[in-house]
Amino acid sequence: MKGSNMEIARHWESGTTDNESVLPWKSLKTFFPESDFHHQDIEEIVSQPDRIYIGDEFCPKRLPDVKGLKDQLKAADQKGLPVTLLTPVLTDGCIKAWGKLFETFHQWDHAAEVVVNDLGVLLYLKQTFPGFSLSMGRLFNKGFKDPRLNTKSITPAATAACFNDCSFQHANMRGLAKSLGIQRFEQDLFPHADLDPDALAMKGSNFDVSVYFPFGYVTTGRACITAGMNGQADAKFNFSAGCHAPCTTHRFKLSHPGNGPDLLQNGNTIFYPYTASMLGHLLRTAKTHGLRLVWQGGLA
């Protein structure tokens, strides 16, 4: 059951206007044993979203064009749902190229919510569209996510305790975010952190908090294995080359030669699946502490 304060958002990835299959179980079961997945709870809450996320945090080539954006906004309007625009790191050229996209989004709602993952984009949007409600994205939130870490063997205690820490927990970062007009932090569940509800909800910080699920991101970059598998020889791993986004349909499971968990490669980014206890903790904390959960099951 959905708690009174919690909010559910669904990410319409890759320019889609709806995910008919809320739980793409065929793909998800690669990463989540059915018995451990809180399947029923998740299906129930995800089928009744309060908000839609569009855009992309990791690749500018996956941002919608203006027509795609208008289609998505129209579809969200028809459902009566507010929309959040995710943005990735952008170069000067990309900021200029996507100016029309931001303008269109601004015309739709002067106070709409935008998630930024780059300081330059943040400052550009603040200056150009001061009405936008800006959230600090998860690329700002640094910490320890390496899936190869065996935390049980980590000593001394001071080092082990660091796995509970991340940038958004620091007073300096919160002060900086406040001075930049940030209202919300967007984050992952850190894979090696203790399951502490107050820490996850950043209790006492006055920031709203979103958490992505059921995957967190490990690493990303402009070099893209998926695009590289499909492109012309001189376009492979060329950051300026065009891309017809094979990542929208083709994803991969990465299995570690040692003991690490299976990971998800989606486009230029590698994700880790949350464990059953992480998912359970997240669902409980969302209810008790009023988190926004952002469903990204479609990544798999």
Partner: protein, 332 residues
């Protein structure tokens, strides 16, 4: 246009200075850090024992000799994230480094940057490439935090570097990568740990998931999956200094931007950087000789083609250069 070179021990000092290093950078391994965290948590991105100066006495000597030769010294405090529990020690350390006469700190963690801007230790702050400055809009912000130089990330293209540098060259210094050590992921957003080895070099078993297009599977769309992945492995090989190989004349292979030094000079880039603090004496010396030769050529001539021809001639591996994978920064 200065050449900034890594150093990990006093044994390299004379060689680096006599071969033309204008600036040096090094990391530290300290007893105090190890007492709190052990070597399970690194103070910077490189191996404590293989890439760092291990005593303050050595650092003192390094600074004295470097300054005696008009060479500046920077210290890498470039972990992308310092836990709150390390911050008190980090600030004490920074104060000590300022007292010792270090010229600059190379920093990426925003929390540490904010602390340092408050403390105002009189040290120059250089934003590490892990700070991920990907556009010109973020430069004034870093300037407001006291940053004097921005080290641009590897994952930019030439036009993108030009856009940033030419817009801010009058109020910010810029440093770009010159040779060695590619990085498959963008290091500023990579949340893996080098303590376990390079994550990007993991020999993954890669399995296609079911395609989202109904009725087809990746196996059908990619019958040649192995060949396609071979291409990815080739790219990784180039990023990893062409398998850590050397040319026949002993100069090191690896990613570089040598052909672009003419552009860098004209745009107003302050320094070109050799990567690889843990590299061998031999690789460092060869890398420095290579970079100095091309930097000096770029200072002598306005003819870009001559610089490119010279760099390629020194490289002796036209087939590697033509692959495009050797270039940090591509034109298009």
């Amino acid at each position: 246009m200065n050449i900034i070179t890594p150093i990990r021990s006093l044994e390299e000092l004379e060689m680096l200075i006599s071969n033309g290093a204008d600036e040096l950078y090094c990391g530290l391994k300290t007893k105090e850090w190890d007492e709190i965290f052990s070597e399970n948590l690194w103070m910077n991105r490189r191996s404590p024992d293989q890439a760092n100066i291990t005593s303050f006495k050595d650092l003192e000597t390094l600074i004295a000799v470097a300054h005696g030769n008009a060479v500046k010294v920077s210290i890498t405090l470039n972990a992308s994230f310092y836990p709150e529990s390390s911050m008190a020690y980090m600030l004490t350390l920074c104060g000590r480094l300022a007292d010792m006469g270090v010229d600059a700190l190379i920093v990426s963690d925003l929390n540490l940057l904010v602390e340092l801007s408050r403390l105002n230790l009189g040290l120059r702050i250089h934003l590490s490439s892990l700070g991920a400055c990907f556009n010109s809009f973020s430069v004034p912000f870093y300037k407001s935090l006291g940053v004097k130089r921005v080290i641009l990330p590897r994952q930019l293209t030439l036009p993108e570097i030009e856009a940033i540098v030419t817009k801010h060259r009058n109020d910010m210094e810029f440093e770009v990568f010159a040779v060695n050590d590619g990085c498959y992921f963008e290091e500023g957003f990579c949340q893996t740990s080098h303590t376990l080895g390079a994550f990007c070099l993991t020999d993954w078993s890669i399995t296609p998931l079911e395609t989202h297009s109904p009725g087809t599977g990746n196996e059908i769309v990619y019958p040649d999956l192995k060949e396609r992945l071979a291409h990815f492995k080739t790219y990784l090989w180039y990023q990893n200094n062409c398998g850590s190989s050397f040319q026949q004349d002993g100069l090191p292979n690896g990613p570089c931007s040598l052909c672009q030094f003419g552009d860098f000079k004209d745009w107003g880039v302050t320094a070109v950087k050799l990567v690889g603090r843990e590299a061998s004496f031999h690789r460092k010396m060869g890398s420095l000789q290579l970079v100095k030769a091309v930097r000096d050529k770029a200072l002598q001539t306005q003819n870009r083609n001559r610089i490119i021809d010279y760099a390629r001639q020194l490289r002796q591996t036209p087939e590697y250069c033509d692959s495009g994978y050797m270039c940090y920064f591509r034109k298009h």
